[in-house]
Subunit: 504 residues, 2 copies
């Protein structure tokens, strides 16, 4: 297996199928018999636990607290914000009954059937603006009760017709922040603050470079005034929206009646925001960092950062080798990496070394350490870094490895970010004309991000989307995108380039 | 307010209403407009986060890993284990449609109505044995794949007709462990191991003494062979089942077809277990440790262990006092308590000192520290312990407090456990005759735990339950309950006493 790749097909041969195979080879998740709902297996869930813990710390550091709101939303809540209701209506799981009854069938068997019909049906939350809005309306009386800075970690459900593991599933896990403020400015600052937190988290923790910016009207969250997004490019040059933060204006406050007595002794509607990231991040991670041997995990969020593989050529020295491996693991675990204890696993399974090694390659563990009788003697370890091509191991004095391990992990983290940034930059082009645009995104072209002057309408954007499957990913923030020019489609003047791309 | 109690009514006057008022006064949770579903507010959710983190560490230390399984369960899965299906049929939320459609009403308005009827309805998981069993059946091929040691943190739904915040809600949060083993003995050991983990967690972390034991056949989990329970007594002398661990035999393995090729090269059914604890723990905590001023939180799981209350009599020294409080908080936060950084909050709100103080009393923070200009001068702090009656503060040199803080917190933790144990023991009686039993549990008697010899049938147990609302809480483990005697109801010989009580 040393010359071939662990994943068939390769990325170049069939990217979507490569993705499915990487998920399977790393044992991250699988489809269940419930249409569109996945089972997140322990290795995949370990990733989510690390994402969750590290992101949660950032929310708390910015003053947010966690709470929990009901899974079920009365239909009447959803109807209050018309755009929002319309946006989610076609993908809502609806609860209509509250019990089951055994019913005799014609063939003599019994079957469970729903009974106890509800006076008002509920939908399983596709997102919680409406139900959290109802709670906020109860909680807020005066400006002194503001801001409310709440986050919820939970499951949500959107009935997807074309599910794909992690990237698009009927049920997914996420966090949804919901805040209410006294002034428009404060709410806008909050939406932008969390947009920044997402950008920083993706870049620093997941080693995923993103273009932060704002969504066009057509791509906004249903009911939002502004939607801020962070857009990643994965290895098939498509975009993935990795997180969004919405300035909701007073739309949801009006729908839910979130009113407060202001400093001026007059009743006002609050200004609200919401922001979310989901298990979709794991799909983005795979598509950003995987290679033809499987996933490569950024050290900061890897469930295991270092796997120790005992080399036991002779049964009579096996116990001694394993003891030495455990001792090394213990030393490493007593050290920290970015304020968390190092996550080290000793794989003691008595299976062929090649098989064992490939399993950990496919699972993407940043560092593999082989440690056998000769290494014990020489006080060295054989270190394999998952980010290195060609694969090969380096013998390092054990004490040096223990001393430098954080540095090595940081170097892997940096390599992944640099590699992804280079790919993104190499596939981002400033184009000027409709002909260039059409050439760039024609069916067999690799595509990428196109930086285009744009002054079209939502209808014109819709036409491009339908015809070419290319959408405006964001109107990027930052000076480097601000320049005078001419809309490539309409010829109208424009003062800023936007990012067009195909997307997941 | 200094002579009265903060909660009306008192425990003695109306325990159920006292409970509701404590939940409200501490701002732990509230009812939502979704029948039986609660909103867990930040202070209540902070408790759950601590419970979750500490319990999760114990699961991981005993070799378990987390994963996530679908929220929705196909009806056909549920039907496979008949007892199980019957046990949950009357309380299942059923999803029957997957979209909504705006429908014009006669009055010209539009209304959302369910559409897209599903070929097979789903229930929202009331528990996940069936859906996790289906995954296990896919994952297990050989004895080498066993044991599977999985846990899931999630929400579940059981349509409750008489909900009560935390104790009995239609939706609740919990963890459910699910394991599969090669042998009956291993599975039984696992069920007992987790039973022990629950007992230790309740006693050590929540300061709740419990009687560990086994459920009678009538009280078993639907589909289980044995159910092990930990039973707490709360202050109105009723029992609360605080956690259960089930040995499922091969019942669910058979229903889901969890088969493996054994060491003998023959196919076998696996042996499975499941075990769970839920947000019900928070209700148990309140009813165990609350007093007439509100909840008292055990330091190990308190969201804030120490609240610092700046005393600012003069506006001109306010900034200096607050700086000194922040400095003290910083020093304390750099220390740990049971391996977690101390959780310290400085309440800088400019509200009347009495109101501020009472808020933290009602929220149950273990230690309140007042710190003002005179304390800064004298290098002392005014310490109020939430477990002390009468309330009163003690002046301690600041350096001594910083040095002894862990000890003080441990002393509060111990006091709470001792107090709860004393109440439980004072209200646990060995009784012999039916007359004594009826007297003990007559309607206006305080009741408690009755240790009774029992050799009755499930039908006889059912009769007692219907007539007197008293059930067998558990057949307790431990030598002290093993003795020869005569069943109080049937006169049959018995070799063990069981615990009877009213319960939540």
């Amino acid at each position: 297996m040393s010359s071939a790749t662990a994943i068939t097909p390769t990325r170049a041969d069939d990217f979507p199928e490569w993705y499915q195979q990487v998920v399977r080879a790393a044992d991250l998740a699988e489809n269940s018999e419930v249409r569109g709902c996945m089972v997140i297996k322990p290795w995949g869930f370990g990733l989510w636990e690390n994402i969750q813990r590290q992101l949660d710390a950032k929310f708390k550091a910015t003053g947010h607290v966690n709470a929990y709101f009901p899974l079920l939303i009365p239909l009447s809540y959803l109807e209050k914000e018309a755009e929002h209701a319309e946006g989610f209506a076609t993908e809502c799981a609806v609860v209509t009954h509250h019990r089951l009854e055994a019913q005799k069938q014609e063939d003599g068997s019994t079957k469970m059937v729903p009974t106890g019909e509800l006076a008002e049906p509920f939908v399983i939350r596709p997102t919680s603006e409406t139900i959290i809005g109802a709670a906020f309306a109860r909680w807020v009386e005066s400006y002194r009760d503001l801001p409310l800075l709440i986050n919820q970690w939970c499951n949500v459900m959107r009935w997807e017709m074309r599910p794909r593991l992690f990237l698009r599933t009927a049920e997914f896990l996420w966090q949804e922040g919901h805040t209410a403020h006294e002034t428009e400015q404060e709410a806008m600052e909050e939406a932008k603050l969390m947009h920044g937190v997402y950008e920083e988290f993706l870049t620093t923790h997941l080693a995923i470079p993103v273009i932060p910016g704002e969504k066009s009207a057509r791509e906004r969250f249903p009911g939002a005034v502004n939607t801020f997004t962070v857009e990643a490019m994965v290895q098939d040059r498509k975009a993935i929206q990795a997180g969004t933060s919405h300035f909701l204006g007073q739309n949801f406050a009006k729908a839910a009646n979130i009113e407060f007595l202001g400093r001026d002794n007059i009743r006002h509607l609050a200004w609200t925001t919401s922001w979310g990231m989901s298990t979709r991040l794991i799909g983005t991670l795979i598509m950003t960092h995987g290679d033809d041997d499987g996933i490569i995990l950024p050290p900061r969020i890897a469930p295991t950062q270092i796997v120790i593989l005992p080399v036991t050529p002779k049964p009579e020295t096996r116990d001694a080798v394993i003891d030495a491996c455990e001792a090394l693991a213990k030393t490493l675990r007593s050290q920290t990496y970015h304020n968390e204890p190092l996550r080290v696993h000793v794989d003691k399974r008595d299976i062929p070394g090649g098989q064992r090694n490939w399993e950990w390659i496919k699972k993407g563990v940043p560092i593999r350490l082989e440690f056998g009788p000769r290494d014990i003697e020489k006080r060295s370890v054989a270190v394999s870094r998952r980010d290195k091509t060609p694969k090969g191991k380096e013998f390092i004095p054990k004490e040096q490895f223990i001393r430098d391990v954080e540095e090595i992990l940081d170097s892997i983290q940096t390599t992944l970010l640099q590699r992804a940034t280079a790919l993104r930059d190499a596939n981002t082009k400033k184009l000027e004309t409709e002909a260039e645009f059409r050439e760039y995104f024609k069916e067999d072209a690799p595509g990428g991000f196109a930086l285009m002057h744009w002054a079209g309408s939502s209808e014109e954007e819709e036409r491009i989307a339908k015809e070419m499957k290319v959408t405006i990913r964001c109107i990027p923030k930052g000076d480097q995108y601000a320049e005078e020019g001419t809309c490539f489609l309409t010829g109208r003047p424009s003062n800023r380039r936007v990012v067009f791309a195909r997307s997941y």
